[in-house]
Structures are given as structure tokens and as C-alpha cells.
């Protein structure tokens, strides 16, 4: 079996299991839908954090923007449920991209820790701002419209929507990383000054990368707002200390800068979190905080990062002598 066939087989199995899941375990539909949310969180964070070296604590901004824009459209438009929802999703994604483009021009010029802390402030400022703005419900938040259809239908529908979003995000990123875009991001990560000195349009790449993250996060926000049904500015939409931090953690746990790393990290983290919630009730947040510290301090390479150090040949880092054809040239 060639590598491609193996890969396609893996994908098929995953997709088949994922499609059947809501029917197999109907009680866990929301948790499983959140698994896809976590995967998109981790993948989109990794574009900037792992591939490009810009560790953002503020990606939650785009998530929240998408969520609110969609909810407002759903509230104020006179369209039916599904048209309003999809219009809202599109508008939410667009709004998120616009935010990324605007803030990106200023903030992406910051390096290293300044960027990290600035985005931290941005994410939380958004939450505070939303808590005061009456048009979007201020501190009381907003509710999204009721799902038309039989009870239990909502969980199932949004599970599939979220799953679709995840399996679109993955190949898009895969395509990006396999071309010049991925190389440029990595170059910026490894030595941005060198990249500039070589003439690379670093600003273009940085802003586009953030806009791509924003796009998928905006869509995700719109969907999650409808999955949960209730939008709280600080705890759901601009949930910096929860979702915002988890984005970072999952990518690191799985191995940042790889494609499968964030996916792996998201799966492991999500399962761990669900276990904590079930068995450590009351102390689950404390346990999660502890987990963050432990991972960052003791396991910063993450699963795939550790694997790459251990077995570099598996990742293609080998010394390859000339093939005979070349030697005769």
C-alpha cells in the first residue's frame, strides 16, 4: 500500500466514524460537536502560532465577532431560519476577516512577547466592550433563534455543520502549507529579519495568515453561538481565559507547527477536559489550570514535536547521497 492509499484509507475511516457518531451516541452529540470546534480552534491558532511563530492570545476576538454578527443578523433580518443562519455565518466570517485586516496592520508589526500580550489585551477588551454595548445585549448577552425541527434535531444539525467546517479547514490548511505560503510562514517564524532581508513580503503573508484564521474562527463562532443558544460576552463569545487559552494549549500539546499536531492535541485535550468535568466537578477549572502549567513546563514540544526529535527519519530529515544518475553527470 502506498502512502497515498494509506492516507486516503485513514481519512475515509475517520469520516465514516464521524458521520455515524451522532446516531451511535446521541447523548454525546454536543460534546462531539465541540470536538470539531476544538480541532478548528487548534488548527487556526497553529497557523499563526506554530507555523508563523506569532503566538496570539487574542484569536478569540474573531470567534466572538463571528458569533455576534451572526446572532444580530438572525435577530434583525426577516428571513427564515436557515437563510438567516447561513447569511449570518457568511457575514460573521467576513466581519472577522475585516477585523483581522484592520488590527493586523498594526498589531502584526509587534514582535514576540509584545504581540502575545497585546493580543491578550485585545481579546479581553473585546469581551469587556461587548459587555457594555446595549445593541448586542450588553452584560445579558443575546439568544439565538430556536431551531425549527424536532427536539434533538438541533444538536444533530450543528454537529454535522461543525464537522463539515472542520473537514474543510483541514485540507485548506494542508494545501496552504504545501505551497509557498507554508514556506513563507515558516521562514518568518525561523528568522523574520532574514526573511525581510531576502525580500519576502512578510507583511502580506502575516496579514493573510491572520485573515485566514479569522475566517474559519468567524464561521465557528457563528455556529457555536447557535449550538449553545445563548451568547454571554465574557464566558462564551470572547471567552479568553477558557477557549482563548485552550486554543494555544491544544496546539502545543499536539505539537505546534505540524498539521496533525493540533488535531491530536485537540482530541486529547477535549477528552481530558470532559473527563475532568465529569469526575472532578467543582475543581475541573483548577485541574485545567494545572494541566496548562504542566504541559508548558514539561512538555512544550508536544506529542508530534517529541516524535520528530526522537525519530527524525520518519519526518524525512535524512542525509541522502547523490543518486547514481547524478554522479555520472
Amino acid at each position: 500500500m502506498t502512502a497515498t492509499v494509506k492516507r486516503l484509507l485513514l481519512y475515509t475511516v475517520i469520516v465514516a466514524v464521524a458521520l455515524a457518531a451522532p446516531s451511535i451516541a446521541p447523548d454525546y452529540r454536543t460534546q462531539m460537536a465541540f470536538l470539531w470546534v476544538m480541532i478548528v480552534f487548534a488548527l487556526t491558532w497553529d497557523i499563526l502560532g506554530g507555523q508563523m511563530g506569532y503566538n496570539s492570545f487574542g484569536n478569540i476576538l474573531f470567534f466572538g465577532v463571528g458569533m455576534y454578527v451572526c446572532a444580530v443578523i438572525q435577530r434583525d433580518s426577516s428571513l427564515g431560519y436557515y437563510p438567516a443562519l447561513f447569511l449570518g455565518m457568511g457575514a460573521g466570517a467576513l466581519a472577522a476577516v475585516i477585523f483581522a485586516a484592520i488590527f493586523g496592520s498594526g498589531i502584526l508589526g509587534l514582535r514576540g512577547h509584545y504581540f502575545a500580550i497585546c493580543t491578550l489585551g485585545l481579546g479581553i477588551a473585546a469581551g469587556e466592550f461587548a459587555s457594555g454595548w446595549d445593541y448586542i445585549g450588553a452584560g445579558s448577552g443575546m439568544v439565538t433563534p430556536i431551531f425549527p425541527g424536532e427536539p434533538g434535531g438541533r444538536e444533530k444539525f450543528f454537529y454535522y455543520v461543525m464537522f463539515a467546517l472542520a473537514i474543510i479547514t483541514f485540507p485548506v490548511l494542508r494545501w496552504l502549507y504545501s505551497g509557498r505560503f507554508g514556506l513563507a510562514l515558516n521562514a518568518i517564524r525561523d528568522d523574520e529579519d532574514k526573511a525581510e532581508a531576502m525580500g519576502i513580503h512578510t507583511t502580506r503573508y502575516k496579514t493573510t495568515a491572520w485573515c485566514i484564521s479569522a475566517f474559519f474562527l468567524g464561521l465557528t463562532g457563528a455556529v457555536v453561538g447557535n449550538m449553545i443558544g445563548f451568547i454571554d460576552p465574557r464566558d462564551v463569545a470572547f471567552a479568553g481565559p477558557t477557549f482563548g487559552v485552550w486554543m494555544v494549549l491544544m496546539a502545543i500539546l499536539g505539537g505546534k507547527g505540524t498539521l496533525w499536531g493540533p488535531v491530536l492535541g485537540a482530541v486529547v485535550f477535549h477528552i481530558t477536559q470532559e473527563v475532568f468535568w465529569t469526575y472532578l466537578l467543582g475543581w475541573q477549572r483548577v485541574a485545567l489550570g494545572l494541566l496548562i502549567v504542566l504541559i508548558v513546563v514539561f512538555f512544550p514540544l508536544g506529542i508530534l514535536g517529541w516524535a520528530r526529535e526522537r525519530w527524525p527519519e520518519r519526518f524525512g530529515h535524512v542525509v541522502e547521497e547523490k543518486l547514481d544518475a547524478r554522479a555520472t553527470e
Partner: protein, 310 residues
Amino acid sequence: MKKTGRGDFSTMDSIQLLFQAPVLSVQLLLDGMLIGAIFALAAYGMALVWGVMNVINIAQGEFVMLGGYVAFFLYAAGIHPFFGIPLAAVVLFLFGWSLYKTIIFRVVDKDLFISILATFGLSILLQQLANELFGADVRTAESGFGTLMLFDGQVTVAEIKLVAFIAALVLGGLLLLFLKQSRLGQAIRATAQNARAARIMGIDTDRVYAATFGLNAAICGAAGALVSMTWIIHPYLGLPYTIRSFMIVIVAGLGNVAAVLAAGLGLGAAENFAGFIFGAEYQAAFVFGLLVVILMWRRFWLSRQRRYLK
């Protein structure tokens, strides 16, 4: 006109009010500066850790919060919370020292992002721990001080705020004295300038780092005790304090004590004015938003000289 959700008062109304009644500005300025000294204290601690060990401590605000709880529990036990200042300093020093010995020492040599993430994780851990152990309720440690009347009673100053202001200055002064005169203080300053040279000269840099981190926690603890007396404390007051400290440090620089104080007072006043003009519910938004603005402005200023924030 923007509605701020405070009944019928809008932003424009508030600004007009400031011009019509200048004594209001005096009140806001005074209140702001008094709390600003406490900000400056926490900021100085952050600058210390940053300058000596190259660690940006995101859990700074949590040290403040914990110090506040020490003072509060003292008060709840019937002792005057003023004794909370030294007690919080001692408790937090030991806490900071232990944190260094268990966790922080592992991230000192790694890149700055790892230390930011680690201390951020710590911040979340401490927040949630406090929430579980102490409850989410807002607390104050009553100090039993009265109110001072100035300008024919037009401006009121809570005496405790004045006392806290002086205490903050005294603590800051003591810290400076310690750093200049004591052997440990000199060792700290030497390590900050050149850790390798310090090590070669026989200074145990690991101990210096532990002491510095502990010292920082102690300062924050004392600041927290002051906060619990003049204001309120709750498990989640940490992050705004961290952000305030960070802002003050980047505006004032790592070495300049007077600048740290000035920046702290300025920030306190600015926050107070913002809270009045935009509404109290936007005050936190102002703090975090200001961070973004300051960093973007600073980057713009540096890039004109073609130097980058590294």
C-alpha cells in the same frame, strides 16, 4: 450620542459635566492618583522580575489578589487589616520563593513565550483555586478610617486611600533602599546586569532569582493588602492588575523608578476619568484597550527610527 447604559447619562453629558464642575476633575484626579501608587508598586515588582530573570510574570495580579485575601482573613479574624501588609508580604514571599523552586526555575532559560504561557497557566490556576476556596463574592477589609473633606467639602478623600498611598510610597522606598544597600540587593542588581559575570564572581544566581521572585510576590502581596482595604478583592481581579503593571513597565522602562511612579499615577487617573466619561462598565475595556493602543503607538514610534520591538 453613545449611550453607556447608565440611565440617561451619555458620554457627551459626562464630558460637559467635567467642564461645568472642575472640582469633579480634582476629585477624579485625586482618587485616581491615590490608587495609582499601588499600581506603580505592582509594576515595579514586575520590572524587577523582568529585568533580573527575563520573565514576564502574568500571574502578577494573582499575587496581588492573594495578598488581599491575607489581609481580608486577618480582618475577618478580628485583627486590624493593617497588619495584613507585613503579613501578606511575608506569606507571599514564601509563596513566590516556593513557586520559583518548583515551576519558575524551569522556564527562566527558555524563550519568553514559554514563561508567559507558564505564568498565564499559573494565573488561571490561582484564580480558579481562589474561586473554589474563597468563593466568588466580593470582599473588603474594613479599616475603620474616616473621610477627609477638602475644599469646603466639595472633594472627599477616604482617609484610608491617603494612608494606602503613603504606605505604597514607603514600601517602594524601602524596596529601593534594600536593592541599593543590602548585599542581596546588590547581588540582584549584579545579576540583572550580567548573569554570567555574576555567576563567575561567585553569586548563586539561582538563589538570586528565587529571592527576586519572592520579593516581587511580597511587594504584590503588600499591594494587595492595600487594595483590600481601599477597594474590593475577588478571585478575578488579577488580570487587570497584570496588564496595568505591564503597561506601566513598557511606558516607563525597566530602570527608571520615578517614571514607574509617574506612569502609575497617570494610569490611575486616566482610568478614573475613563470610568466616569464612558461609564463604569467600560472601565475594564479601557484598561485592556489602552494596552493595545500603547503598544501600537510605541511600535509606530520605534519603526520610524527603524528599530523593532524585540
